[in-house]
Symmetry: C2
Subunit: 185 residues, 2 copies
């Protein structure tokens, strides 16, 4: 499992609490790795007892205290070890594709609204990624000479952008097919 490793990377980029990690997993990290707060708290606890992360109690005013986690030496070693291991190309779980093939045994036209909804979601995500890219990498406030970390973050973001563009184009292909079938049927 790689949730531990995703957490290590996120904490190396910036230490933070379980709650803050959960919010990051709704945003930047969540573009390629999702996790709920319960999962994060549980895994953080295990990582702490394994000595991968250090904890620091941070008192706060106007809000509850928090535990700030940062990566310990053992955690860096564990991450390094994982980085040098080969991994399998990801396995896919695409509900919509199952639905599209299933539509052959039901009413294909009924899927049109659903596909349109997904199209809107992916269009929104693309706009969100592009805004982030302008803000952090290509806009006037972006660093003139990005360091290695920034270049690597940018190439991952470009992957997200390419994925959304591809998905949007494919959903349009799906819509055209569904409309054509409605005309025929």
């Amino acid at each position: 499992m790689a949730l531990e490793h995703a957490i290590l990377v996120s904490l190396l980029e910036k230490p933070g609490s379980g709650y803050e990690l959960a919010r990051r997993f709704e945003r930047s990290i969540g573009y390629f790795w999702t996790a709920t707060h319960q999962q994060i708290y549980r895994v953080l606890k295990r990582m702490e007892s394994d000595g991968w992360v250090d904890v620091r109690e941070v008192p706060q005013q106007a809000r509850p205290d928090k535990k700030e986690y940062s990566v310990a030496a053992l955690g860096r070693t564990a991450l390094s070890g994982w980085l040098h291991e080969p991994i399998e190309p990801e396995s896919v779980r695409h509900d919509l594709a199952v639905k599209i093939r299933g539509a052959a045994f039901d009413d294909p036209a009924a899927l049109i609204r659903e596909v349109e909804r997904h199209h809107r979601t992916h269009t929104d995500r693309l706009a969100h990624y592009l805004a982030g890219e302008r803000r952090d990498f290509t806009g006037p406030e972006a660093p003139a000479a990005p360091d290695a970390g920034q270049q690597l973050q940018h190439v991952v973001l470009r992957g997200g952008i390419a994925y959304e563009r591809m998905t949007i184009a494919w959903l349009e292909d799906v819509l055209a097919t569904l409309h054509r079938l409605r005309g025929e049927g």
Copy 2:
């Protein structure tokens, strides 16, 4: 969960045994939904006791007997109900992206071989999909007037092809970035 639904779709396309389903999940269906044989046997058993599928013992010579499953009326109803429910756009799990961002805290150049390996895997998959497309949809043996089911299978396959092409181009972008960083570092 949608494994039940993926099984229903596959059985509607063609009835078969758990073993045959497992093989399909390594091929066509597996392009967008993976499952091991243990998972499939367990879910089939539940679907059978829920009356979603019918079983028929098929004696065979030169090999063990098998249980051939086909979709029952209740299964069709369940599938139809699921098709009319909205689903959330998929959540992503992309180990390689985690590794790429993690490489900022290790040696980026060490990732080059790994990325090249993924590039080869996706190139192979693309070739495999394109061969399937020629065989079933665009080649000389393909049906001149494909029915709804074939058109829907084709649009799903086109999605797989677009995904592989996008991924291959992105991996080349990643490789270029890693080589650039090695030159700088």
